[in-house]
Symmetry: C2
């Protein structure tokens, strides 16, 4: 076995690669947060977030992982005994359900086979069944399966009702088109370590005017995630903000603004298309029935130990893709297209995959996956 | 044209990629150089250099580009009127010749067609023709052509004579096997921005005992590059050393020591083999008749504008390979395997090359170059 330089290629659906200029933005001196100098930076970052969420409303920044923003959504708009329709088609739909239950919410679950997408009709039927529903909880991109949900169509179902539409866009924001205001989404949550090209540490939550009314009226127990405090101090922070993370956020929103949000969506779409062409050319099967642009979930072929395959690529070559979660452990692999990722990261993933499959005894034509991806790149004349 | 994230892939024969941990070693606080704390770091770095040069002798560190170390070699061992045999088979052979001439040395040039290698017999003949020769100047890896010189065989020719063997190993050190003491090389020069995986800024010169005698006896005019001063102050520095660069050097020699020099040579060989398999599979022709492991020089096919091809890959995709120099401008491209480079950098270079050739109208089977490289990697079971 010849020795190699082992670089890290992070092709996971979060954390996603962070460009050096954002890493270095975080390495600047920590200044005090109760100063005009700091507030200037935070204001700029918060303004930029509105563009990324495609909203005129305030986007609140929490110092937590994305789950914190999910809890903030539930804790601020749902009270014990309130009813919610929750779409559960993977690990992150389950998280909505679990948080709702933890807050005493009555959950009407729409159980979706993992890998399938909820249809707007299913939402409609559930609503008819439970007319007292206060909110519908959806997942823009179900990270555990790679499925994208048609949240725009679901919002249309809710039009004219008082039912709030709460979307987990943690992995989906920026990888998938999302227009919060135009699509009439009431609550959208996101995290920093995804399309925003940052390390983990910040979570975001944006609310429509009517959702904010509900928040203001809620008497639920909560403190750290009480959005009334964030609203009151906005654009300042109620507690110590993630100062150095906010430096990175300010740089990230600047880079994404310069790129243009349509271009950001488009480059995720391009890498997803190339990856799917590549894995199909290797004779592999896609797992998701409605695949999005955050990641491509691929079925592990018969006779191959998926955990070993993914582990080998990561341990020996530094090429880190994700395996399956929960009952999909060892059964699927997930190749991300998320964040600061170039076409040559996609080429690297496919090259590593075909070499690893060959090593593990799966009959594969070396180069075939890369060739198919290159054909996509050439067709689109990158 | 779809938008992409443009990352930088540095596949040039210097500067070569620098790992983040070496970059960050240079970002530490600058301390004063006349302190025991600093000297400790420099000592460690200098000890490590001996291993990399495979010598028991001192290796002096200059704060200059590699050309400075070449000048130091000439200025310290040659006096005006001294005779030298200089092998000139490319831009860096020319540099030896030009520096020698600038110092009033009588140059006996062995002109080699660019792309070919000097033979030990040619050295022997020239020596017989000019028996008063004081030194032979060779180039381990001629960066402009990708040719590697058999310096070991040339040293054998010089055995039993007083003729010094001076080798430019600036790009070659670590990419090519080199055993200074065992091969009886008298002067070896190197630079930091190559196999040492550092930014440019430091140059190195190692001397055999008999070469050092010559240095001590020389009355040539010189000051900054007067090796007597470096010898006298060793392991300290006569003038301000490149403090932060020396931090990086200390880290680099540590990493290379941990890896083991045979492994370092071997990984360069592996990437060179994979690259050559790849370009041949694309129907391209190698330029060098005796190709080394620093870089692979490839002829630009008829009808393709080599400058535009290389410029396109760099400007549009961030994949930076080198073009040709001097009369080879536009006629060859040079793909490096140098320094902190992984197999997936090689895959990236080949993938970008095949896509660019396709774009420029050269008939190429997309994926064929990558496939051939993958076959090498699989055969060697990386």
């Amino acid at each position: 076995m010849a020795k190699i330089v082992r670089k890290n290629y992070l092709l996971t659906p979060g954390p996603a690669p962070v460009p050096t200029e954002i890493l270095l933005a975080g390495a600047q001196e920590t200044i005090h947060h109760r100063t005009p100098q700091y507030l200037e930076i935070q204001k700029k970052a918060l303004e930029g977030l509105k563009y990324l969420f495609q909203t005129e409303n305030r986007v609140f920044t929490l110092l937590s992982s994305g789950t914190g923003a999910m809890e903030a959504a539930v804790a601020n708009i749902m009270s014990p005994g309130d009813e919610a329709i929750v779409v559960v088609g993977g690990k992150f739909g389950e998280r909505w359900r679990d948080i709702c239950k933890a807050y005493g919410v009555v959950v009407h679950e729409i159980a979706i086979e993992w890998g399938a997408a909820v249809t707007p009709e299913q939402i409609k039927e559930k609503l008819e069944e439970y007319p007292n529903t206060k909110a519908v909880f959806t997942t823009l991109s179900e990270t555990s399966t790679g499925v994208v949900t048609d949240v725009e169509a679901i919002s249309k179902i809710l039009e004219g009702t008082n039912v709030l539409h709460v979307t987990d866009a943690i992995s989906g924001l920026l990888a998938q088109p999302l227009k919060m205001d135009e699509w009439k989404l009431d609550v959208v949550v996101a995290g920093s370590q995804k399309g925003l090209m940052m390390p983990p540490g910040l979570a975001f939550i944006a609310l429509s005017e009517r959702a904010l009314e509900v928040v203001r009226a809620s008497t639920n127990h909560r403190y750290y995630f009480d959005l009334r405090a964030y609203d009151k101090s906005y654009p300042d922070s109620p507690y110590t903000p993630g100062i150095n993370l906010v430096y990175q956020l300010a740089r990230a929103v600047e880079m994404l603004y310069e790129e243009g949000i349509e271009n950001v969506w488009e480059r995720h779409r391009l890498l997803a298309d190339a990856t799917r062409a590549g894995v199909k050319a290797l004779g592999l099967e896609l797992f998701a029935k409605r695949p999005g642009n955050v990641l491509t979930a691929v079925k592990i072929p018969e006779g191959i130990d998926g955990k070993k395959l993914v582990g080998y690529m990561r341990n020996e070559w530094g090429v880190t893709i994700a395996g399956g979660q929960a009952h999909l452990k060892g059964k699927i692999m997930r190749i991300a297209h998320l964040g600061w990722m170039s076409p040559f990261d996609t080429i690297t993933a496919l090259s590593a995959l075909e070499m690893a499959l060959d090593k593990f005894g799966y009959k594969v034509e070396l180069g075939a996956g890369v060739k198919a991806a290159e054909e996509v790149f050439r067709r689109e004349d990158i």
